[in-house]
Amino acid sequence: MYEYDVKKRSMQEPTFLILTALAAGPQHGYGIITDAERISGGVTRLQTGTLYMALDRLRSAGLVEPDREEVADGRLRRYYRLTDEGAALLAAETRRRRARAAVAAQRLRARLAGGTA
C-alpha cells in the first residue's frame, strides 16, 4: 500500500528516473543507472547508494518488485520490474509534470510575444 500522497508532494527526481527506466521493462541495477542517465540527457548519474536506497523504499511501498536473478560474469544480477501501482503513480506524476511544463511553455511564448500571460 502506497502511503505517498501524490496530491501534496512532488516525486523526487531519482524516483521519477528509476520508475521511468523500469517502465520500459525489467532492468538490473546498473541498467537502471545508465538508462536514468540517458533519460536525464546526461545530467543525472545516480549513485549506487542512492539507487538502492530508492529501490528499498519503492519495494516497501509496492511500486517495484524483484523480477528475476541471474549470474553474469560471476556476479549476482537482480532485475526489478514496475508494478501496476508503480505504473499508475508514474502516470499521475507524468501528467502533473506535463501540466506544469505546459504552463511554463505558454508563459514563455507570451513573454517572447512581448506580453505577460
Binding site: 538490473h28 541495477g29 549513485q47 549506487t48 547508494g49 538502492y52 560471476g74 556476479r75 549476482l76
Partner: protein
C-alpha cells in the same frame, strides 16, 4: 575473479565490500556487481563522495528497517528475554550500589557511625518492589509486574532527584549528583517495565534461553553494569569519578553484552536492547566542563523514554500478525 576484471579490481572489490557492510546482507552481492560494473578502468579506491553516499544510504536503509526488525517474531522474543533478565539485573544493581556506598563510607568513618546511613525505608521499598517484579514475572503475572515496575521507576526518579536537589542546595549541583546516583539502572528499569508490558513475558523468555543461559546473562550483565560498584566494594578508595574508571565501566558493559549474547536473531536484538543501557555510561565520560553534566542526564532521560516506542512498535507487529492469522 572473472578475466575481464583487471588485477587492481580485487583491491577495489575488497574496499567496496567493507563499505557494503552498511547494507543488509541480501543486497550486498548485487550492489557489488553494480559498483564494479560502474568502476572506471584502473580505479582502486572508491572516491570520497561515493564512500559517503554508500555509507549514508546504507544507514538510512538499516534505520528504515528497524520497525520491521523489531516487529518480527524475533523482536518480540527478544523483548520477552529482556523482561526475564532486566528486572533481576536491576535488583542486583540496586544491592551492589547500596553495598558500594556502605563500603565507601566504612572506609572513611568508624563502622559504628554507619547506623544512620543504613538503607532507608524508601530504598528498602524500591528493592522489595523489584524483587516482587521478578517473582510476579515468573508467576506469569507480567502485567502486575509491569505496573509495579513503572510505579517504582517513577518514584525512584522523583526520590533521587528530590534528594539530590535538597542535599546540594541548588538545582545545577543537584543534576550532577543526580548523574552520580542514577545511572544505568534507570534505563534497565525502563526496559524491564516496557518489556513486561509489551512482550509475551518472562516465561516465554525462559522458554527461549533456558535457566542456565538466563542465569549467565543476569550474572554477566550485573557484573558489567555493576562494575563501578563491584570495584568500590573491593577497593573503597577507587577513584570512581575518574575518566579512566568510567571508560573501564563502559568497556565492562560492552564485554558483558557481547559475552552473554544468545546466538541468532533473538540474541542480536537482545544485545541491541540491553546495549541501550550503555549509552548513559558513555555519555558520563564526556568531560563535565563541556556540557555541565547535562549530556549524561539528557541521554538517560532520552534512552529511558525511547525504549517505550521501541517496545510499542514490536508489540504492534505481533498484534498485526495475530489479527492476520485470526
Amino acid at each position: 575473479m572473472p578475466a575481464r576484471y583487471p588485477a587492481g579490481a580485487a583491491v577495489l572489490e575488497r574496499r567496496y565490500r567493507r563499505l557494503l557492510r552498511c547494507y543488509p546482507p541480501t543486497d550486498r552481492e548485487e550492489m557489488l556487481g553494480v559498483l564494479l560494473a560502474a568502476a572506471r578502468p584502473g580505479q582502486r579506491t572508491p572516491g570520497l563522495r561515493q564512500a559517503v553516499n554508500l555509507a549514508a544510504c546504507g544507514l538510512v536503509i538499516r534505520v528504515r528497517r528497524i520497525p520491521g526488525w523489531l516487529a518480527a517474531d524475533a523482536g518480540q522474543d527478544a523483548l520477552a528475554v529482556v523482561s526475564l533478565i532486566a528486572p533481576a539485573v536491576v535488583v542486583i544493581l540496586l544491592a551492589l550500589g547500596r553495598g558500594a556506598m556502605d563500603a565507601t563510607a566504612a572506609a572513611r568513618v568508624p563502622f559504628w557511625t554507619l547506623l544512620p546511613i543504613l538503607p532507608s525505608l524508601g530504598e528498602s521499598v524500591v528493592v522489595l518492589a523489584w524483587l516482587a517484579v521478578v517473582v510476579l514475572g515468573l508467576l506469569d503475572c507480567r502485567r502486575t509486574a509491569a505496573v509495579i515496575a513503572s510505579i517504582s521507576l517513577t518514584l525512584a526518579w522523583l526520590a533521587v532527584l528530590t534528594a539530590s536537589v535538597q542535599q546540594s542546595g541548588g538545582l545545577s549541583q543537584g543534576l550532577f549528583q543526580f548523574l552520580g546516583t542514577v545511572d544505568v539502572p534507570v534505563v534497565l528499569a525502563s526496559l524491564a517495565a516496557c518489556s513486561l508490558a509489551l512482550s509475551p513475558g518472562p516465561l516465554r523468555g525462559l522458554a527461549i534461553v533456558g535457566w542456565r543461559r538466563a542465569c549467565l546473562m543476569i550474572a554477566g550483565l550485573s557484573a558489567g553494569f555493576g562494575f563501578p560498584s563491584i570495584v568500590q566494594l573491593v577497593h573503597p578508595a577507587a577513584p570512581s569519578g575518574d575518566l579512566a574508571f568510567r571508560l573501564l565501566g563502559v568497556l565492562a558493559i560492552a564485554v558483558a553484552v557481547a559475552v552473554t549474547l544468545v546466538p541468532g536473531p533473538v540474541g542480536r536484538r537482545v544485545a541491541g536492547l540491553v546495549a541501550a543501557g550503555l549509552l548513559p555510561s558513555l555519555a558520563a565520560t564526556v568531560p563535565s566542563r563541556l556540557y555541565g553534566g547535562l549530556a549524561a542526564w539528557l541521554v538517560i532521560l532520552l534512552v529511558a523514554v525511547l525504549v517505550w516506542p521501541v517496545a510499542i512498535v514490536s508489540w504492534r507487529g505481533r498484534v498485526r500478525r495475530a489479527s492476520r492469522a485470526g
